[in-house]
């Protein structure tokens, strides 16, 4: 269990550090170039992991709906924007705003899909997040 806690914490640290590293790469290349390398290096690592035990073309690939393949290109825009923003907003504010967008859009997606949950708690959560964004905007630099 404590190993799982460590894994979850480490995942959070890696989300932040990969954004910083890509941000550094974008400084001397471009945000899109940093995103390209991020995907190319990750792809290479996953191909190697695949050769070590996972199938590179598992059963069920044919049944994947076409729209789900958009995840990759969306990731390109996500990594490029994060690389560009982290050098301008800093790590804390970038992380907080990305998390805010992820949470608020997650609430909207859950509502659209009709998933159960407490409306009041979600509304309160969204309001706190918006308050945080408004306060962040008051920083001088």
């Amino acid at each position: 269990m404590s190993l799982m806690i460590f894994f979850a914490l480490l995942a959070g640290v890696l989300v932040g550090s990969s954004r910083s590293v890509n941000g550094r790469l974008a400084l001397t290349t471009s945000a899109l170039m940093a995103s390209f390398w991020n995907h190319a290096v990750g792809f290479g690592a996953l191909v190697l992991a695949g050769l070590a035990g996972f199938s590179l073309w598992p059963e069920g690939v044919g049944a994947i709906p076409l729209w789900a393949w958009v995840g990759g290109p969306l990731g390109v825009v996500f990594i490029a924007s994060g690389s560009w923003l982290v050098a301008r907003l800093g790590a804390v504010v970038t992380a907080m705003m990305v998390i805010a967008g992820q949470m608020v859009s997650g609430v909207v997606i859950d509502l659209i899909r009709g998933l159960p949950g407490s409306g009041m708690m979600r509304l309160a959560g969204v309001l706190l997040i918006i308050a945080g964004m408004v306060i962040a905007q008051g920083r001088k630099r």
């Binding site: 806690i5 979850a8 995942a11 959070g12 890696l14 989300v15 932040g16 550090s17 910083s20 590293v21 400084l27 001397t28 290349t29 471009s30 899109l32 390209f36 390398w37 991020n38 190319a40 990750g42 996953l46 191909v47 199938s55 590179l56 059963e59 069920g60 690939v61 049944a63 994947i64 789900a68 393949w69 995840g71 990759g72 969306l74 390109v76 924007s81 982290v86 800093g90 790590a91 804390v92 504010v93 992380a95 990305v98 998390i99 967008g101 949470m103 608020v104 859009s105 997650g106 997606i109 859950d110 998933l115 407490s118 979600r122 309160a124 309001l127 308050a131 945080g132 306060i135 905007q137």
Partner: protein, 156 residues
């Protein structure tokens, strides 16, 4: 190397970051669908492969978007993709453990907050140095509290 300078967090920059977070939600929805039909490894492989191709096509079509392939960057600056691939693997393991999704989200947020406060304070990885202040603490507190309410509200 060009000196990176922090800017005032204008509504444009903040909303751009907010929008990229919304994009992340859609991306996770797509990738989870691929996982449901195959497995976590293939989902990550497919997302990285299709993303690599999409980025390459745009880079080839728009010279303005490429500037330089390597930019004289040190080798470690190309490790972001490795970290991302490991993150996905760790997340898959943790979410299927007794921590469950809400526990993993809460701990993942904590990891991000601690990392980013230290990264700003010490200017890690060649990015601008900036001492986090009381305003940052308030922003972090409000947004984390909002996240926890949403995570628990969804689980209720």
């Amino acid at each position: 190397m060009p000196e990176a300078r922090l800017q005032k967090p204008s509504p444009f920059l903040l909303l751009a970051a907010f929008g990229s977070g919304a994009l992340l939600s859609l991306m996770i929805l797509c990738n989870a669908t691929v996982t449901a039909h195959t497995n976590g490894h293939f989902s990550s492989l497919a997302a990285h492969g299709s993303g690599m191709l999409a980025a390459l096509i745009v880079l080839a079509a728009l010279p303005a978007a490429r500037r330089s392939w390597r930019g004289g960057a040190p080798l470690w600056a190309f490790s972001g993709g490795l970290m991302g691939a490991v993150t996905v693997a760790l997340g898959t393991v943790a979410v299927n453990s007794p921590l469950a999704l809400s526990g993993m989200i809460a701990l993942g947020l904590l990891g991000q907050v601690v990392y980013s406060l230290l990264a700003d304070r010490f200017g890690w990885f060649g990015l601008p140095k900036r001492r986090p202040d009381g305003r940052d603490a308030l922003v972090v507190g409000l947004i984390l509290a909002g996240c926890l309410l949403i995570v628990w509200g969804g689980a209720a």
